[in-house]
């Protein structure tokens, strides 16, 4: 078993070492070039802004959604659960494409708004950072809802009765008892969404404009259009370092919530 484990770790190691050691053929100077490059800074700022925005929205909506699942009755719970799992039936590529169809000038959203008389002519939604944010939030929302809901199901409702009987108001009971007890799932979901959104490529390309693109797109274009493997390698190394740091910082959370380990 352990021997097989080694056999399996080898390809993964190979791939990761392949990416990390790739910039070895270039001088350390490339890192400095990348870090001082205003283009990279702009794309990096786009990436961070998107990741923060998507995590915040997905976290808020996700907590609320999970709370509704927890608080409502069984039938509603099953319905909401089906709605969360339903998007997994469609690939990321297809869903990004679908959002581009929904948000375009002749798409459903503009059609509905026109028919309601809220607007006179289509508003440009596609090719904006709003479109990327909507698309990515929808794709990543299940990753905050599911762990949050799972930590809510482990909550002992008697604690709330206790809090209420000791004189806490409903709002106090929520913020001082319920929320702190269910925060773990939310935090784990947020970490996952943030990590995943750092690497998004397909959705920004299909939904965003040229000024809204994240680092993943820059890396890709460095390789495909400019054939500049060295710079792409340095950028990749920076992204990997960021991901590793975040993952290491949140590893206990990941172990506890996603791997159910310890």
């Amino acid at each position: 078993m352990i021997a097989l484990l080694g056999l399996f770790l080898w390809p993964a190691a190979k791939v990761i070492s392949g990416t990390v050691t790739e910039p070895t053929n270039i001088a350390l100077g490339d890192f400095l070039t990348v870090l001082s490059d205003p283009t990279f800074a702009r794309f990096a700022a786009n990436t961070l802004r998107l990741a923060v925005l998507v995590s915040l929205i997905a976290g808020t909506l996700g907590y609320f959604y999970a709370y509704a699942m927890y608080g409502l009755g069984r039938r509603w719970r099953v319905f909401l659960m089906i709605c969360v799992l339903f998007p997994f039936s469609t690939s990321l590529l297809v869903r990004s494409f679908a959002w581009s169809v929904i948000l375009r000038d002749t798409g459903i959203v503009n059609w509905v708004l026109l028919h309601l008389g809220l607007i006179d002519q289509p508003i440009g939604l596609l090719r904006t950072s709003l479109a990327i944010t909507i698309g990515m939030t929808q794709i990543l929302l299940p990753f905050t809802i599911l762990p949050t809901y799972s930590s809510m199901t482990k909550f002992d409702p008697d604690l709330l009765y206790a809090a209420r009987s000791m004189g806490a108001s409903a709002v106090q009971a929520f913020w001082l008892v319920f929320f702190p007890c269910t925060r773990v799932g939310l935090m784990a979901g947020l970490l996952l969404v943030f990590l995943l959104s750092l690497g998004y490529y397909i959705t920004p390309v299909l939904l965003g404009g040229p000024g809204d693109q994240p680092v993943a797109v820059l890396i890709n274009s460095q390789v495909v259009n400019q054939l500049n493997w060295g710079l792409a390698g340095s950028m990749s190394a920076i992204v990997i370092a960021a991901v590793l740091l975040l993952l290491a910082a949140g590893w206990r959370l990941v172990e506890r919530v996603f791997l159910a380990d310890r």
Binding site: A12, V15, C83, L93, I134, L259
Partner: protein, 272 residues
Amino acid sequence: MMAGEHGRVLGLTWSERWTKYGLAALLGPTIVSLLMPSLVVIPLSLSNNPALSWPPQGFTLQWYHQLFGSAAWLASLRHSIEVALTATILCLLLGVPAGLAFGSRNWRGRRLSLAFVVLPLVIPNVVLAIGMYEVYARLGLADLWGLAASHFVIGVPFVVITTMSAAKQINRVILLAARSLGARPVLVFWHVTLPLISLGVLSGAMFAFVTSWDEVVIANFLTSPTYRTVPVEMWSQLTEGVDPTVAAMAATLFAVTTSLMLALLFLRGRRE
């Protein structure tokens, strides 16, 4: 709206009516936006209008005829199935023993190894793709084997995690009982361990299959023009100019994945 068993004590009560409005205002759009992207391609793939605009006009199967009459699409479909099956088998062969090793006992370096296994899930695919492109070219892994190897790397974490959590549920006494009754380790594995973890292995395999089936970014780098998978074909269509055959393909993929998921749910339901 039904009052839940916990609804009374939760904040939901402090102003029933406002809570209801708030729920509807936030949950309604969320539910619509969760469901809409999967469903919108279906009416559009049947619409006469080649511009993919809403509302759909008329009814036609011409996009499906075009899709299934196209040699390129059919070849990509075959490639996707080949790659996803090969990758899933690789994931099972190596991921199940690894998952058992993680789930059955504690060994030195276990936490670090587990983190290592999970890593390909969070490293951006673009970054992985660039590394794999170089390394695999040097190893001579191309087309089917290159893709299968790369999809194995991103799919195996699922198999390891689901197998691990299934293996943790096993009561070790059962295994000891089988051993003490004279079953050899191979027999114990085949007749006792494997049936007990089968559901976890199955869900892991399904995740691995779907991951490979849907993957675009790495496939874009590792495929040659003569060996494209469905997502790669779709991506090139999308970036060149869209017509409703893409919507037809999307609707077909939706049907395939949904039936796989329903099959798994059904199996799970029968087991429990």
